[in-house]
């Protein structure tokens, strides 16, 4: 298959320098790792700004850069809901209200907090599901990277996966969490500086922001939506039929803004681990708040390029979009929202097959139609509409606008996003495995050196399993879809467990355990009884019989999450009231009403985390109003 870009020596040089620095950081930090606390928790010594940028960078993986660009092309500026209500409020909440428990309890992991607050079985359930999910997420991310580089640059899938996996292994093995965090900070700046020119050049090519809005209004009208549906985030959320996301405001606010958002940012050890590595309680509380500041601006970095890909002229860049070049399935990581979806507009008569001319005619801007990887023909939905390959929106922008040199920077930033996500997964996995599974159930009273060695072994094991998972994903796409579905079911109810655990001292271990299982089952039942419009019964839902049809996948996902959360919440309360609570004395430092509030009185008002939180929320509100 033809590929979209050929690299020159300068591009390879940029990549080589990046790899050298990443590995060099690992080697330089090796000497500072002496204990298991150094390896797993970075010695609890990170300044707030370093932990904050690592907090955001660990989440800045494949789904962020590729998936959000894809969603920008697919849904427009409304994709920013994944940031402005789907992340920022939860990040503020975890910083102000939850970090005192995570950090103050001296728990070494999120599952360990569950053990301290509830009991051993609740910890085991969370630790096992998290370890499995984390390592498979890492594998899916690797698969997506290998596939993308194969399509974009013609690189061997095996080469990409093994080299990226090997580099992540080397620097996390040597320097543990400190090395991962340092590299995540480097990766954060690389991703910002690598993608920012994309927005700038793309906007210039379409006549600035107003030019992009005008073109998207035409596109929106042509697709049967109100003119502003792609450029307003809230205006058309009154009805699911009036916006490309296919969700109404209540489902969005409850499903994404509350359950999924708080469930991820407040309970996922992958990100919480970065804050737990902070040097003090105040730094730990500031970590998510500092992360929220750049996070709220990320739509302009990752979503706008996707929107631009839909409307830039194919002849506007340094090289024309290669017709018929990269266009095939690129898997997105768990939680990713970008995916191919039918586009009703382009139905050029020439579009009989996947020939180059027809592919060019069927592209929107520089977003190519999706080609069947086996037949090479353009894929269409059941109504005969062309399916666009939105996952290629951002990569096509890179090869379209960046000349040699900057292309190397952009592709390195893309690689960095995959690697930071993978390193985040691997470091979270090795900690949960060593502390919550191995130390708890296999070898409880070993020396610290033993656990340090086990952590390094778990790092090797985690990377190897990730690579194996990437090959599983390459061979059995449906298995990965299934796993992602299971992950969603397990994650959805988690925030109910944590919220009750931290803010209701009467909640018990039996209540939490049974509530979690009930919530997961409720998610499966809701999913099995509903179906997105146009989907086939199976992995998309409806396997117990279809009683409701949602307008989009996201609508179904959001309401499944709400259903799971409410079930977990109610069942946890019910079972807790029927079982014996723990004495108050055992819950000090673990429950809000029994924990001394952090005293910020000695700090100047502008240094207090609460002040930063207010600033973050006001800025987020302003962005919502500006793009309403």
């Amino acid at each position: 298959m033809a590929h979209a870009a050929t690299l020159s020596w300068i591009d390879y040089a940029v990549m080589a320098i990046y790899f050298a620095f990443v590995l060099g950081i690992g080697f330089l930090l090796k000497r500072s790792v002496k204990t298991s606390t150094d390896f797993f928790l970075s010695g609890r010594s990170m300044p707030a700004w370093v932990a904050g940028l690592a907090f955001i960078s660990a989440n800045l993986g494949a789904q962020e850069v590729i998936g959000m660009g894809a969603s920008g092309a697919k849904y427009g500026i409304a994709t920013s809901h994944f940031y402005w209500i789907g992340a920022i409020p939860a990040m503020v909440f975890v910083g102000i209200f939850m970090m005192p428990f995570y950090y103050g309890s001296r728990a070494r992991s999120v599952p360990e907090y569950l053990k301290l607050r509830f009991d051993e079985k609740t910890r085991a359930l969370n630790a096992i599901s998290f370890a499995v999910m984390t390592i498979f997420s890492s594998g899916v991310s690797l698969y997506a990277m290998g596939k993308l580089l194969e399509l974009l640059l013609g690189w061997s899938f095996n080469f990409s996966v093994l080299v990226a996996g090997g580099i992540v292994l080397a620097y996390t093995f040597l320097g543990g969490l400190t090395s991962a965090i340092y590299n995540e900070v480097l990766q954060f700046f690389l991703i910002v500086l690598g993608f920012l020119p994309l927005t700038y050049l793309g906007l210039r090519s379409v006549g600035g922001w107003h030019g992009m809005v005008a073109k998207l209004e035409s596109y929106s009208s042509a697709h049967g939506y109100p003119a502003g549906a792609y450029t307003h985030s809230w205006t058309y959320m009154n009805n699911a039929a009036h916006n490309p996301i296919g969700v109404e405001w209540l489902g969005l606010a409850m499903g994404l803004g509350f359950v999924l958002s708080f469930g991820y940012w407040c309970t996922d050890f992958l990100v919480v681990q970065r804050a737990m590595a902070a040097e003090s309680m105040t730094s730990a509380r500031r970590t998510p708040l500092i992360a929220a500041l750049p996070k709220m601006l990320f739509p302009f970095l990752v979503i706008v390029p996707g929107m631009l890909a839909l409307v830039v002229a194919p002849s506007s860049g340094v090289r024309n979009a290669a017709p018929g070049a990269p266009s095939a399935v690129v898997a997105t990581a768990p939680g990713a929202v970008g995916a191919a979806e039918a586009s009703p507009a382009p139905t050029a008569p020439a579009a009989q097959a996947g020939g180059e001319e027809s592919v060019q005619a069927l592209s929107h801007g520089i977003v190519p139609p999706k080609l069947n990887p086996e037949t090479g023909k353009v894929e269409r939905d059941t109504h005969g509409n062309v399916i666009l390959d939105y996952d290629l929106a951002t990569p096509m922008m890179l090869v379209h606008f960046f000349p040699a040199g900057l292309l190397g920077l952009g592709l390195t930033a893309l690689l960095a996003s995959f690697m930071s996500g993978m390193a985040g997964n691997v470091t979270a996995f090795n900690t949960v495995w060593t502390y919550d599974l191995y130390q708890s159930y296999v070898h409880p009273n070993a020396s610290d050196q033993h656990y340090l060695n086990m952590g390094r072994f778990a790092t090797v094991f985690g990377v190897l399993v990730s690579i194996a998972a990437a090959y599983v994903a390459a061979s059995f796409n449906n298995i990965m879809d299934f796993l992602q579905l299971v992950f969603a079911f397990v994650n959805a109810p988690l925030f109910a467990t944590f919220a009750l655990g931290m803010f209701w001292k009467r909640s018990t271990g039996h209540g939490a355990f049974i509530g979690l299982i009930a919530g997961t089952l409720a998610a499966a039942i809701h999913h099995g009884l509903t179906l997105p419009a146009g989907a086939v019964v199976g992995i998309k839902g409806g396997y117990f019989g279809v009683i409701t049809t949602f307008r989009s996948d996201l609508g179904q996902t959001f309401w499944t999450a709400v259903f799971a959360w409410v079930t977990c919440f109610v069942v946890t309360i019910g079972v807790s009231l029927l079982t014996a609570p723990r004495p108050d004395g055992e819950l000090k430092g673990l429950v809000y009403s029994l924990t001394a509030k952090p005293d910020d009185g000695a700090m100047a008002w502008y240094q207090r985390p609460a002040t930063l939180a207010v600033v973050v929320l006001l800025l987020t509100l302003a962005l919502n109003i500006i793009f309403f």
Binding site: K34, L201, V318
Partner: protein, 82 residues
């Protein structure tokens, strides 16, 4: 963890972007006349190379300033780690 042994992350970040800035900026200058070197009329390699160099230099400045502050603090209170 003995943080005195640990690298200030601003050093590698500053050095990385300074090197990239010089490399990409110089390459952009040398290849300015080549087709495609100025997408939408902007010599982007040169512009972005300079910007990265400035950013890298700023990070190195911050790291160096912090190192000197630690040395001053150490001199003022002998026995503390740098």
């Amino acid at each position: 963890m003995d943080t005195s042994l640990r690298l200030d992350v601003r050093y590698p970040i500053g050095l990385f972007f300074a090197i990239l800035g010089v490399l990409i900026g110089t390459y952009g200058f040398v290849t300015l006349e080549r087709p495609g070197a100025t997408p939408t009329g902007v010599p982007i390699d040169i512009v972005w190379g300079i910007l990265m160099l400035v950013f890298g230099a700023f990070m190195l400045f911050l790291a160096e300033r912090a190192r000197r502050a630690r040395i001053r603090a150490h001199d003022a209170a002998p026995g503390s780690s740098i």
